[in-house]
Each structure stands twice: as C-alpha cells, then as structure tokens.
Symmetry: C2
Subunit: 275 residues, 2 copies
C-alpha cells in the first residue's frame, strides 16, 4: 500500500466497502440518471475504488466498454470480484494513478469520475490529465458530494461539529469534502466546453419509507468511520463526538429530516465529435 | 400599521416590493410547478403580501377563485393595484389575520401559503387554523425558503455572518428563516395526511445566463435590506457587514456559484374529497 493510498480518509474496511455499495445502490438513479454511453464507446472510469459505481456503469451501458482504474490494488481486488461475480464482462480493471496515466492521448471516448476528485490534492491538474487522454469531442462526467450541503432538523452545533471533523480530516489528507460546489469552475478552468452542472438533492424523513435508513447507512456511517482518527488528531473529544453522532441519528427520527446535495457536472473536450 | 405588521423583517419599501416581484417572476416555475387548482374551486391564499405570488396563482389558474388575505392594509393596496393592473379578475382581497380568520369552518377547497409561515411566531397554530377553514379532502400547499440552505463558492465566514444576521433578526421578530426544512413535520403535527415535501433547489453561476443576476436581485438584495436594523441591533459592525456583502457579491462573479433550496409541502385534510 502506498503512502497516498493509505491516506484515503474513509479507510478500506469491510464496513466501508459495504457502505460504498449501499451508497451506490441507494443513489444509483439520482446520480447516474442521464449517464448513457453509445454502443461501442470506450470509457475511462478514473478512481473506481471497490467498484461500487463500476457495477452501475457496466449494467446501465452493457454495449459500452469500461476501463476502470484505481491507485489501490486492494480496492481493485474487491472491484474485480464484485463485477465478475455479477457476470459483467465489459470492464477492464487496471491499477493506475490519475497523476500518471498509462494511456495515449485521445484514448477514450468518454471519462467518468465519481467521488474521486474530493480526495485529490490538485483536482484541476487531474482534470487536465484526464482531458488529455480523452478524444476531441468526448465528454467528462464528474460526480461529487459536498458536505456543506447537509441540511437537517433538528440542527445542532454538535452535529455540524462531527461533519466538520470529516471535512478537516479530508483536508489534512489533501482532499476537499466541499468540492461539489466547485465542479463547474474546475471543468471550465480545465478547458472543457458545453459545461452543465446539476445539483442532485436527497430529502430524507421518517415519513418517507427507507429514506432515513439510507441516511444512517450512507451518511452517518461515513462520519462514524472517522471517529478514531478525528479523536487521535485532536479534532474532537469523545464527549463532543458522541453527542454529534447522537444528534445526527436524531435527524432520522420523529420530526427529523436530512437533506444532502450531490453535484454532477458534464463537460466536453473541444473538437469534432467522431464517436 | 399594527405592531405585528411593523415587525415584518423585510420592511415594506418600494425596493422590497420590487424584490418580491423579481423573486416571484424568477422563481415562478420552480415554486409553482405542480400547483394546479380545479375549475371552480375556491382557494385561500394566506399572507399574500404585495401580491407577488397572487399574480402567478391567478394567471396559472384562471378558472379558480382566490381569496387572498394579508394582515397589512398597505401591502393589500399594492396587491390590488398589481392584480387589477394586469386585468386579472379571479382574486378577492381582504385584510385579515391568520390568527383570527373571518371565515367559517370548511370554507375553502384549498389553501396556499408562501413565504408567510416564516414570519409567524407559532406556525403550528397557524396551520391548525388554516386547516379549520379548509373543507375535508382539501389540500394545503406551503412554500418556504430556508436560509441555512445557502451554499456558495467562495465560502467565507463573513458571507455566512450577514445571512446569520437576517436569521437572528427574523427570530427576534418572532419568525424562523430556517423553517423550510420543518414543513413536513409541521403539516404532520397539524394533522394533515398524504404529505409530500419537495425541496426545490436553485443553482446559479456566471456561466448560466441571468442566474447570478437573480441571486443579486433576490437573495443579496434581501440581505442588504436589513443592513440598518442589523447594525442598530448590534448584530454586526459596519466593517463586518460590508465585508459579508462584498463576499456574497463575489459568489456571483468569475468562478463563483450560489445554491439555495426552497421547500414545497402539500398535505390533505382527511375526509371525503368533494371538490
């Protein structure tokens, strides 16, 4: 495991893998709606992790071919298992670093990036590199969350505090947990054209069957996953942490509610669309 | 002007009236989408103010009849001018207080409330009173903003500070600028059934023609409208205020962005639908 992969803020536990698949399943339509690749096209999925999104991409676009890369060999093992276990055959996995892509210029018809830029110290440079391996006329799709979008009731300082701990920890690891709001300008600065950004907001309340359960499994579990490093780094105390987590659970009960916004941005590389 | 109407946090200036009509026009589709009343039905619009939403309701439902009430005689003068000036004839205006409704039980087929509960000290009691004048089977539609939903880039403490000043001032006046997130549980507690809540999010950036202009005219103008009382009440200093306003304008320039979420909730009063 490299230093870089070790600093991945969410860790690579079995529990985190389960959370990632829960997230991908629960949010599949919300996030993948509109992502439809032409028959025969080749798509680079940059930062596939354990394959949670890969599975959806592969299923939704059975006649396209995906090259899914990740820096972590450990994650790729899980991704391969997952995808082959479902009998999906249109994905090639490869260990690679976005900072040093082993592909020729213009190799891909499209690029797909989900929950990856948030962990990269220089997302603009990463986008420029991805643009380089994209053919003229091809598109890039970037999906990221933004923890600043969490809106909930009852709202407490303690609940915001535990979310802020993840934001801080992720920043310490070189990432940006508030990157969703920035996708538009990053794509523009990387030179993409025809950029569209669509915020995709979730709304959960105990009155909507399954929605509060999803908040627990996806969002609160993600926050709970950084308890130990947050305490070890001195970002919080056991007491404040536990209070914040209790307050987050409270938003899934009785009169509570929880909203979160993902941002999906699509841009095109200038040139003739030959795909 | 009564004490109660004087405490209206946004004031009743010519500029504020313009802002309210800009808001209604700019957000008309986003907020009114799905609000369609049957031919011949009678709808109570509770808290019509200067008629910014009344105009849209009237235009979109020409064969329904609206009874639009407000506590402020001054606002009603403007509302009447506006609506009659456009040749709209399906609205009856009446000065009335939601706390003391001059209507018999079950008088209305539907109730519509927009940007009103946020100014009322006891929104649950108001909803119960509105339910009382609604016929069994009739619906209530409530639309409110939530200033805690403002998500922007660049994000600064000063920009959040000026928004927080409005939240504080509105709380001092007995209102709640964060009420949007609470509509679901308020409708449930008031005894409405078949409740749906839909967050309606705006996304503005300089890359989307007109969108950043709308943020200036609607949101930033609203914040700027409370400069004097915020300073007078000691909630801010001239320096902090001016910095915050500059920072909000900055979100409408260059690589900036600005998101805001309105909440629209619809509930039904139990009983036979006879409308």
């Amino acid at each position: 495991m490299t230093e870089k992969s070790r600093s991945y803020v969410h860790g690579r536990s079995e529990k985190e893998t389960t959370r990632l698949f829960d997230q991908a399943s629960g949010l599949g339509f919300l996030l993948h709606e509109g992502t439809c690749y032409p028959v025969g096209s080749t798509i680079l999925e940059a930062g596939c992790g354990v394959g949670a999104q890969t599975r959806l991409l592969s299923r939704n676009n059975p006649l396209a071919h995906f090259v899914s890369i990740d820096i972590s060999a450990e994650s790729l093992v899980r991704a391969r298992e997952q995808v082959s276990g479902e009998g999906l055959t249109n994905v090639t996995f490869r260990q690679a670093d976005i900072g040093n892509l082993p592909f020729r210029q213009g190799s891909f018809d499209h690029v797909f990036v989900c929950f990856t830029l948030e962990h990269i110290p220089d997302p603009l440079r990463a986008l420029c590199r991805l643009k380089n391996v994209l053919r003229p006329g091809g598109t890039i799709t970037v999906i990221e969350g933004d923890h600043g979008s969490a809106l909930f009731y009852p709202e407490t300082i303690a609940a915001h505090h535990v979310i802020d701990c993840l934001v801080s920890l992720q920043r310490q690891a070189g990432g940006n947990a508030l990157i969703g709001r920035e996708l538009g300008h990053f794509l523009a600065e990387a030179g993409f054209v025809d950029i569209t950004v669509s915020p995709r907001q979730t709304y959960a309340s105990p009155a909507i069957p399954g929605s509060s359960e999803a908040v627990k499994r996806i969002f609160i579990a993600m926050i709970e996953g950084i308890r130990e490093p947050a305490i070890a780094e001195g970002l919080t105390s056991v007491k404040d942490w536990d209070q914040g987590i209790r307050d987050l659970y409270r938003t899934t009960e009785k009169d509570g509610m929880f909203c979160y916004t993902f941002f999906k941005a699509v841009g095109r590389k200038e040139g003739n669309d030959t795909g």
